[in-house]
């Protein structure tokens, strides 16, 4: 068994979490103060994932803020960025509109700003 120390990134509190692991199987999670923290720790030791936030150009030349609507594997972040940077969003766009469908597994890139 090994123990991994993590800092939770779910919220600004930044709990220090310890995870006991046996061959990629999580045995115990300590130090978290909420359920989000437990889930973060369980994923982090097996397949760390992140929400990617960036911008996409709009058809009228502005920058539209976007994010992945689910966390994507850390190893895929730059592949996702490449797709984001080659995309164009057709205005008008509202918050929540899907800009790129299934950018990575079942995660979509969605608008986080409005562009009339």
């Amino acid at each position: 068994m090994k123990t991994v120390a993590l800092t939770c990134i779910e919220c600004p509190v930044g709990c220090r979490i310890e995870v006991d692991l046996e061959e990629n199987k999580v045995l115990a999670v300590r130090g978290n103060s909420c359920l989000r923290g437990k889930m973060y720790a369980e994923n982090e030791v097996v397949c760390p994932k992140r929400v990617v936030t960036s911008t996409v150009k709009t058809t009228d030349g502005r920058m539209l803020p976007v994010k992945t609507d689910k966390p994507v594997p850390k190893t895929e972040i730059f592949a996702v960025m490449q797709k984001i940077n080659s995309a164009t969003a057709t205005t008008p766009v509202k918050i929540g509109d899907v800009i790129i469908k299934a950018v990575c597994e079942d995660a979509n890139v969605v608008a986080t700003g409005n562009a009339e």
Binding site: L6, T7, C8, I9, E10, C11, P12, G14, R50, V51, V52, T53, S54, T55, K57, R62, M63, P65, V66, K67, K74, I77, F78, M81, N85, I95, T112, G113, N114
Partner: protein, 419 residues
């Protein structure tokens, strides 16, 4: 001269929440003056997520957080003046402003809420030796270039200061293809959130050099490199520790300064500790009917807390318009040992509700007690496992405790064994 009930200066998170709260508490003639072409303030360029966890229990990006409050403003009959800059504020609540449509004009307000936010400390404030080439930006300026304007300020980057904006920009520049060589922090700890160290630096293998600073910037027309040195406990560079980085860009993330020029013009007393106005518990300044909230008053860690403070100021302004006045009988709040500042600086004794004190400690303390005391009376006391300057502390004073207080309340921190 146009007369209005409530003029709010600034349409960022503080101004928006203050406007909604004032309106909902009975102020029906509310104007927001914003110098940018849209509402939302700095949130518009903060495209990363993590906003709103306290308030909305979900992780929003800056524009999403702003949009929720902009929508609330739109649902009410609140006047919004965009691309309008306030030039002057006088003690009699006359606002002088300018925009393309009206030129210079004045508004006479019955009440004012100051919500101008902060600006960044610049290179000039730091006295770094070297030339003055292109390629040196504050982190927030670089953020605006990348996220709003859509262009990259450079390819090889060194960042001075490990505040949250610097950390966020280290990740953002990396995602857009730049190489971030180093983040240097003169202090022995980062002032940024731990989660940002993990997800902005560690995730991308960007080194953080604590106890280090930039001692020289090189390059004639464009930055060509920087010299980074280790500092001793007095923050003096140690000879022989110099490291050289070839880079074309330097970002500064070295602190925020509340933008209080208008406050000064009006003759409102500022606190040398917060650099914001001295306020009563309802966020009223020394000029009756002028309120302040958000980062122009004290630099907050989270926008969620800015909104909360702004709602208090908005409700107070509405109460003022409705005829409520403070008494002359106030308790002074002061920061004592190991505490850098405490806010509000004054509490009206006639207050019949609990008062939340806000303050920051001056160092990292483990197993400590924070105490609010008046003369020999302990008014409130709380044990803390750890207290750090990067996290704003709060403490609740009950209305009874305020009533019991003498002339002054002192907020201080005792370390273990000193109690």
């Amino acid at each position: 001269m146009m007369e209005r009930d409530l003029v709010i200066i600034g349409g960022g998170p503080a101004g928006l929440a203050a406007a909604v709260s004032a309106y909902d508490n009975g102020a029906k003639d509310v104007v927001i003056i914003e110098r940018d072409e849209r509402l939302g303030g700095i949130l518009n360029q903060c495209i990363h997520n993590g906003f709103g966890l306290t308030r909305f229990k979900e992780s929003l990006s800056g524009p999403e957080y702003a949009a929720r409050f902009i929508e609330l403003v739109r649902q009410r009959e609140i006047t919004v003046m965009l691309k309008t800059t306030v030039l002057d504020l006088s003690a009699d609540k006359t606002v002088t402003a300018i925009n393309e449509e009206n030129g210079v004009f004045t508004l006479k307000a019955k009440a004012i809420i100051l919500a101008m936010g902060c600006r960044e400390r610049s290179r000039g404030a730091l006295n770094i030796a070297g030339t003055r080439p292109a390629g040196i930006y504050s982190a927030g300026t670089a953020q605006k270039y990348v996220n709003i304007k859509g262009y990259m300020p450079g390819k090889r980057v060194v960042i001075l200061g490990s505040g949250d904006i610097g950390l966020i920009m280290a990740r953002r520049m990396t995602l857009e293809g730049a190489k971030v060589l180093a983040v240097c922090e003169i202090m022995p700890y980062s002032s940024g959130l731990k989660r940002n160290i993990v997800q902005c630096l560690d995730d991308f293998g960007i080194p953080l050099y604590l106890n280090h600073t930039i001692t020289k910037i090189e390059g004639e027309k464009r930055v060509t490199g920087v010299v980074v040195s280790k500092v001793d406990e007095n923050k003096k560079p140690i000879a022989g520790t110099e490291m050289h980085f070839d880079c074309d860009t330097v970002l500064f993330s070295v602190g925020l300064i509340p933008e209080n020029e208008l406050t000064k013009n009006a003759g409102i007393k500022l606190s040398p500790r917060t650099r914001g106005a001295c306020v009563y518990q309802n966020r009223e300044t020394q000029i009756e009917g002028v309120f302040a909230c958000g980062n122009v008053l004290q630099v907050h860690d989270l926008v969620d807390f800015v909104s909360e403070e702004a709602e208090l100021a908005g409700a107070s302004a509405a109460a003022y318009l409705n005829g409520k006045r403070r008494t002359d009988n106030a308790v002074i709040v002061e920061n004592g040992k190991n505490v850098g500042y405490a806010l509000p600086q004054m509490i009206d004794r006639s207050v019949n509700e609990n008062v939340k004190l806000f303050f920051r400690v001056t160092g990292t303390f483990k197993d400590c007690t924070i105490i609010a005391r008046s003369d020999d009376k302990i008014l409130a006391k709380r044990k803390k496992k750890i207290a750090v300057p990067g996290e704003m502390e709060t403490m609740l004073l009950t209305a009874e405790a305020v009533a019991e207080a003498g002339e002054k309340i002192e907020v201080y921190l005792e370390t273990c064994g000193e109690n």
